[in-house]
Each structure stands twice: as structure tokens, then as C-alpha cells.
């Protein structure tokens, strides 16, 4: 049953990986997936997670420190249950060096930028490159343009982002944690793209 961990463990030397292989899944239909969010500070990573996990949106800005851990289960139409173990990382520069701790061994990575901020889009490209170099092989990568509700102030065009995503073999979606637009779709798409365990 290869369900206890959705990703092959990387036992290469270097930085340690946060992983939990201790609790086996109960059903072969169940998937556990480590998911990491990366992106510049203030783009709304925590808001996306909190909207998905708790259905909440808090407009006051709460700067994430280090990384927050949350989990949420998602049932797919094909009755697969996916349990996301989500690492919501801090966007601040001082934590950049620690990112490998969180993205190593991740089955999926959400790279977030703010559609009103070209700087955050460049930062997103930096993270994509970093994940391509050092992320798990076969990691599902998603490019997310958040704050879609602020389309009047848009400064990153959907087409540019779409082109970039296609070039890098990523799924692209624009979301709004504030209005909940596309948030569930985002996680469903990731769940669908996760590699299924080979049946025993």
C-alpha cells in the first residue's frame, strides 16, 4: 500500500526535511499530501490557507512568523480523500534560507503573487526556479495570482502569468481569498494532479 507518504522520501544529505511518515493512512483511497505555500510577504498566502481551511477571511494583516502548519481534508468526486498538510511560510527575507526545510518532500507547492504587484510576480518566478532546482522531483507546482478582487489595480496581466506558467509546466489560477473566488478550485486542482499511489 504506498499510502503512508505521498512522496518518495529523499534521504540525501544536507538540510533535514520536515516529514511525518509515522501515521499510516487508513484507506487506500486516502492520500496525504504535504503542501507548501511560497511567495513574497503580503501577497496573501495565509489568507488563502485560512480561507481554505477555516472559511475565514481576516482583512487585518497578520504577518506570519516562521511557518504555520494547518491541515485540511478534501473529498474528490472520485471519492478520493486528500489530507493536505499545509506549510504556510513567512514571506520575509530572513526566512528565505529556511524555505527548503518546508518545501523538501512536499508533494505540491503553491507559489503566490499579488496581481497588483509586479515585484511579487518576480519573486514568484524566483521561487519557481528554486523549486525546479531543489524541490521534490514530480512536485505539483501551481502559480496563483491572488487579490483578484483588486482587478482595477491589476499590474500583472493574466496572459503573462499564464504564459509563464505554461512554459514552466505549472497550473495557473487567479484567486481572491477575500471573496473566496477560486480558492476551493485551487485545492481541488492540486488534489487531482497529485500522483495516485500505485494499487497494491
Amino acid at each position: 500500500m504506498g499510502c503512508s507518504s505521498s512522496v518518495p522520501a529523499r534521504s540525501t544529505g544536507g538540510l533535514n526535511t520536515i516529514s511525518n511518515d509515522s501515521s499510516p493512512a487508513t484507506d487506500s483511497k486516502d492520500l496525504r499530501a504535504k503542501l507548501v505555500l511560497l511567495g513574497d510577504s503580503g501577497v496573501g498566502k495565509s489568507c488563502i490557507v485560512l480561507r481554505f481551511v477555516r472559511g475565514q477571511f481576516d482583512p487585518t494583516s497578520k504577518v506570519t512568523v516562521g511557518a504555520s502548519f494547518l491541515s485540511q481534508t478534501l473529498a474528490l468526486e472520485d471519492s478520493t480523500i486528500v489530507k493536505f498538510e499545509i506549510w504556510d511560510t513567512a514571506g520575509q527575507e530572513r526566512y528565505a534560507a529556511l524555505a527548503p526545510l518546508y518545501y523538501r518532500g512536499a508533494a505540491a507547492a503553491i507559489v503566490v503573487y499579488d496581481i497588483t504587484s509586479p515585484e511579487s510576480f518576480s519573486k514568484a518566478q524566483y521561487w519557481v526556479k528554486e523549486l525546479q532546482k531543489h524541490g521534490s522531483p514530480g512536485i505539483v507546482m501551481v502559480l496563483v495570482g491572488n487579490k483578484a478582487d483588486l482587478h482595477d489595480n491589476r499590474s500583472v496581466s493574466s496572459q503573462d502569468a499564464q504564459d509563464y506558467a505554461e512554459k514552466n509546466n505549472m497550473f495557473f489560477i487567479e484567486t481572491s481569498a477575500k471573496t473566496a473566488d477560486n480558492i476551493n478550485q485551487l485545492f481541488e486542482e492540486i488534489a487531482k494532479r497529485l500522483p495516485r499511489p500505485t494499487a497494491s
Binding site: I18, S61, F69, Q92, L98
Partner: protein
């Protein structure tokens, strides 16, 4: 004594050699002239904008680390101003420079009326810079800058707009360092400018709050400790590689942490006592918590802290690992001022500057409820799931043993009130029924509620020297508002500084009376007692009350102190010897 110096220090330092005195005179002149004119104004004390008491400004939670589009000022405009509006320092002279070596703390008790308002956590007044009159009128500024003069942090205003001001501060520091000396503080009228140099990082406080040099310097040390907690001392290497390194971006999002620490300087005695305080709990309750914490520590965790707000419920360290009270203060401040910890469990690199300033530890932080949280510290970066399991174990025990409920109850009820001070059975003047004593939950309804405790006792702080712990009483009605409480803390800070003055002390007792209080301090090798009485209190009675407070604390020791945890179990049995 210089006739122009309105604040002569009681202990003038030996004068420096003539040549350097002349240089200092020049410095003094430059130093005061560099200040914006409002720094000299005498009416500064009338302004209601001290420290935390701001009612303007706007939310700036995520204010740092962003790009600044604001204009950089060339230099403070005060540079070219004349000093005509500064009665106090219109003609700075060598002896008014206040460069008084180790000493020079003023003991004047000049009550400083301040407004009572709640602390606006996110207000930083980003629209201000050194050209704004509101900025200049702030009573207490804190700056962190690099040795190349780059701003790193400012309590008020946008750091990027304060580049010119930072450069001025840097110039003052390096001017003195170039002569092989180093600067400690400068007096300019009612203002004291205190400097702390930590390698490539400079910390400066400009204050007209009448606090002692030692007190302000201690606050700068804590600011530096907070910076290390976030970045470790290895940040110095960035400056070795690039002297123009912009450290401000590395501190992105931490404004609230520093604001909260600065606020603590005016309400939390731990900031000057270098001791921590515990949440009062029944001994059995605390033991239940300590036992499971010890289990967890034995499984390979370096430190386990169970806290309620700033108060320790229990803490345990791995063998031989000890936690300094300042580290507890800075860690609690970091956790409590970073909102995201309350949202979900977190795994965060932090440095305990007193434990090891060079290295990060990894902290797992989880809030059980609004006030109560656990912090598990380890050296292993991959320990998250182990720590998460440990937390679940701790949580189970806390729930089963009702610890969390007891904590909530203690938070609301178990405060030490001077009204409850047990009556001395032999005392005729006692107005308390003896049965109300020693019950920490009892609510005294006697008339003394209105005037404080017996013998005119208003408030006390008791520090156990061996335990590095203190207890303080609740504030009674005579000092019920924030402004009065803050004033009392400042009085305690001064008392502390004068008692521990290296040049004239240490002292054993001090009794002083002014229009606000009678203050009494008593230091033995086992404890330090700081007590405030109403200004008409009788001295003999006051001393009697102090003895009763000590006896009372001794009677309650098992509930108000944490004992025997391996992290801090130094000689606790000696604690009560020889009172």
C-alpha cells in the same frame, strides 16, 4: 557646576583630561545643535504623547520591508537652526554635556504627568519624520542603526525618511570613537541621549522621561536582545561582507515586536528586575503541568515553557540547560506580539541571546486558548512532528488535570492585593479581620479598598534573588489608572537603579518620600522588596508592613513561585534563609 545646566547630576564624574574635555565640549555643542529645535523646548513635558500614548496615526502592521518611495532628507533641519527657543541649553558648555562616565543618573523625582490610554500596538506614525513637529515632541525615541549610519529601526516614523537623522547619530558615535573613546550618553536640557554600541549595530534612545542612564541603557540592551532573538548575532557577518548592508529589510514585519517591547518598559517590571513572574497556582496544579513538561524535556527537547501571557506556569529545561529571565521576557514578547501564532501552530527559528547569541533554535508554538501557550525549543530543524506529538501529550495532561481551567481562574482571581495583606495579630491598628487573610481568593470589601492596604501600603514588588522570580501586587484604587501605574514603575526603576548603582552601592535599604509616594526598598542576599505607600504613611508602620509582606510572600511561596524545575533550580532551598 555650570549655571546653565538645569539638571546637575548628583554624582559628577571625574573630569576627563583637558584635551578630550575640549573635544567633548565641541561634541556637546554639536550634539545639541544637531537636534531639531523642539528638542529644547521646555514645555515638552506638557504634551500628552508619551511613549505609548498616541491617539493619532494609522495602522501599519505590515509596514516594513516594503519599498520606500519617500524622499530622503538631506539632514535634520535643526542643524541650521539657532537655539533661541531652548531655555535649558541655550549655551551648551563642557559640563552640560553630561558625559559623566559610569555615573550620572539623576535621582530627582520630577513627576511627569502622562495620559492614560491603551497601547496602540500598530501605531508607528509612519507619516512622521524628523522634520515633523509631532515627531520631535515624542518623549521617548528608540533608534537602531548600522555603523555606516543606515537606519534599521525607529520607534516613530518611517526609517527610510530618517536616513539623515541616523547619519547624524552615527557621526556623533564615530566622532567619539575616532578619539579612542566611546560615548555613553549626552544630556541636552531635559533630554538624555543614550548610546549603546554592539559591534556594527548602534542603538540610541532619546528620552525626556527622567529615567536613569542605567535604566535606559538596560532598555537598549533588551532591544538588542530582541533583535538577536529574531536574527542571531551572525547578522554581523552581513556587515563584514558589505558595510552598507541594509538590515531593515531583514527585520520586515517585526515592528509590532519592538513596539510591544518598548511598551513593556513602562509596565513590566521584568524589564528592569531581570527576573520573571509566575502565574499563581495551587502547588498540585503546577506540579501536574511540570511533570508532563519534564517528561517532554527528557525526550530530547531543550526547553519547554508553559506560559499564560507574560507569566510562567511552568518551565523545564534539558539537563544543564538554563534559561535566563531576559530570554523568557524576549521570547514571550516575541510570541505575544506576533499575531500569527494565535492563528495556528507554528514552527519558527528563534535565538535565545543569553543562551547562545550565535545560533538559532527551532521553536514550536501553540496557543491552547487566548492566553495560554506552550513553546517547545529544540536544536533540531526536523523536529516539528515530534514536537507536535509532545504538544498533544501536554495538552492531554493539562485537560485531564484541569490545569487550563485553573489557569483561567487564576488569571482572573488569584492576584495579590495589598488589601488582603494578613493582619499582624498583635497590631491594634489593624483594620482587617484575620480570617480574610492568606486566602488568595478572598475579596476584601473593607473600606481600605478605597485607600489601599494596611499601613498606607499601595503596592509592592518582591523579587526572590535565588529564583530569579518576582511577584508584584495588583494596583489598588489610588493608582488605578495607567498613567499613575506607569509613574510608579518609573519610580521603581529609579529606585532599582540607585540601589544597584555600582559607584555608590549596592545599598541595603532606602526610604524616600515625595509628593506622590513613600517608597521603600530593602535588599538582602535573598530578596529585593520594593514597596510604595501613600505619601503620608508613617515610617515605622511602613517598615512593619514590609516585614508583613515578606512573611506573606513566604506563606504563599508554593503558589506564587515555580520551584525545582531543572532549568532554574539553583539553590532554591536557600531562598528563605536569613530574612
Amino acid at each position: 557646576m555650570d549655571p546653565h545646566n538645569p539638571n546637575p547630576t548628583p554624582t559628577d564624574a571625574p573630569s576627563p583630561p583637558a584635551e578630550s574635555a575640549a573635544r567633548l565640549a565641541a561634541l556637546s555643542l554639536r550634539g545639541t545643535r544637531d537636534l531639531p529645535p523642539d528638542f529644547h523646548t521646555a514645555e515638552i513635558h506638557d504634551l500628552d504623547d508619551d511613549d505609548d500614548d498616541d491617539d493619532e496615526g494609522y495602522l501599519t502592521a505590515a509596514s516594513r520591508g516594503g519599498s520606500s518611495t519617500s524622499a530622503w532628507k538631506e539632514a535634520p533641519e535643526g542643524l541650521h537652526d539657532d537655539d533661541k527657543d531652548g531655555d535649558d541649553v541655550s549655551q551648551p558648555s563642557p559640563s552640560s554635556s553630561g558625559y559623566a562616565g559610569e555615573r550620572g543618573s539623576s535621582l530627582d523625582d520630577d513627576p511627569d504627568p502622562e495620559p492614560a490610554q491603551d497601547w496602540p500596538r500598530d501605531k508607528k506614525h509612519l507619516h512622521e519624520d524628523d522634520a515633523s513637529s509631532s515627531w520631535r515632541k515624542r518623549k521617548k525615541h528608540f533608534f537602531i542603526l548600522s555603523n555606516s549610519g543606515k537606519p534599521i529601526y525607529s520607534r516613530y516614523g518611517d526609517e527610510h525618511k530618517l536616513a539623515g537623522f541616523s547619519a547624524t547619530l552615527q557621526a556623533i558615535i564615530s566622532f567619539v570613537e575616532n578619539s579612542g573613546d566611546h560615548i555613553k550618553f549626552v544630556r541636552a536640557g531635559k533630554h538624555q541621549i543614550v548610546f549603546l554600541v554592539k559591534g556594527p549595530i548602534y542603538l540610541v534612545c532619546i528620552s525626556c522621561t527622567e529615567e536613569s542612564y542605567e535604566g535606559l541603557r538596560g532598555q537598549l540592551e533588551l532591544m538588542y536582545g530582541q533583535l538577536l532573538l529574531i536574527l542571531t548575532k551572525s547578522v554581523n557577518r552581513c556587515f563584514e561582507k558589505n558595510p552598507r548592508f541594509d538590515m531593515a529589510t531583514l527585520l520586515g514585519g517585526t515592528d509590532a515586536v519592538f513596539q510591544s517591547l518598548i511598551h513593556a518598559f513602562s509596565w513590566n517590571p521584568a524589564t528592569f528586575l531581570h527576573a520573571y513572574t509566575c502565574l499563581p497556582l495551587a502547588q498540585s496544579t503546577r506540579q501536574a503541568a511540570s511533570a508532563v513538561l519534564q517528561d517532554v524535556a527528557d525526550s530530547g527537547v531543550l526547553f519547554v515553557l508553559l506560559m499564560c501571557e507574560h507569566k510562567v506556569i511552568s518551565l523545564v529545561g534539558a539537563q544543564k540547560a538554563t534559561l535566563h529571565p531576559d530570554d523568557i521576557l524576549l521570547l514571550a514578547n516575541f510570541i505575544l506580539s506576533s499575531e500569527s501564532f494565535r492563528t495556528s501552530e507554528s514552527f519558527v527559528p528563534i535565538c535565545l541571546p543569553r543562551y547562545n547569541p550565535m545560533a538559532y533554535l527551532h521553536a514550536y508554538v501553540h496557543f491552547f486558548d487566548e492566553h495560554t501557550y506552550v513553546a517547545l525549543l529544540t536544536t533540531r530543524s526536523d523536529a516539528f512532528y515530534d514536537l507536535k506529538d509532545s504538544r498533544a501529550r501536554i495538552q492531554n495532561v493539562l485537560l485531564k488535570s484541569n490545569v487550563l481551567i485553573e489557569v483561567q481562574r487564576s488569571l482572573h482571581e488569584n492576584a495579590l492585593c495589598v488589601e488582603d495583606l494578613p493582619t499582624d495579630p498583635s497590631s491594634q491598628s489593624a483594620s482587617h479581620p484575620p480570617e480574610s487573610s492568606r486566602d488568595m481568593n478572598s475579596q476584601s470589601l473593607s473600606s481600605e479598598m478605597a485607600i489601599g492596604g494596611p499601613g498606607g501600603l499601595w503596592h509592592f514588588i518582591y523579587k526572590s534573588v535565588y529564583l530569579d522570580q518576582f511577584v508584584s501586587s495588583e494596583f489598588p484604587s489610588p493608582i488605578s489608572n495607567k498613567k499613575q501605574q506607569k509613574r510608579l514603575y518609573k519610580a521603581y526603576q529609579k529606585l532599582y537603579a540607585s540601589m544597584h548603582d555600582k559607584a555608590t552601592g549596592p545599598h541595603k535599604t532606602q526610604y524616600r518620600r515625595d509628593e506622590d509616594y513613600v517608597l521603600f526598598c530593602w535588599i538582602t542576599q535573598d530578596f529585593e522588596l520594593y514597596a510604595a505607600f501613600n505619601p503620608l504613611a508613617d515610617k515605622t508602620q511602613a517598615i512593619k508592613m514590609c516585614n508583613r509582606v515578606c512573611q506573606w510572600v513566604r506563606d504563599l511561596e508554593n503558589e506564587i513561585f515555580v520551584y525545582g524545575e531543572s532549568a532554574l533550580s539553583w539553590q532554591y532551598h536557600r531562598c528563605w534563609g536569613g530574612i
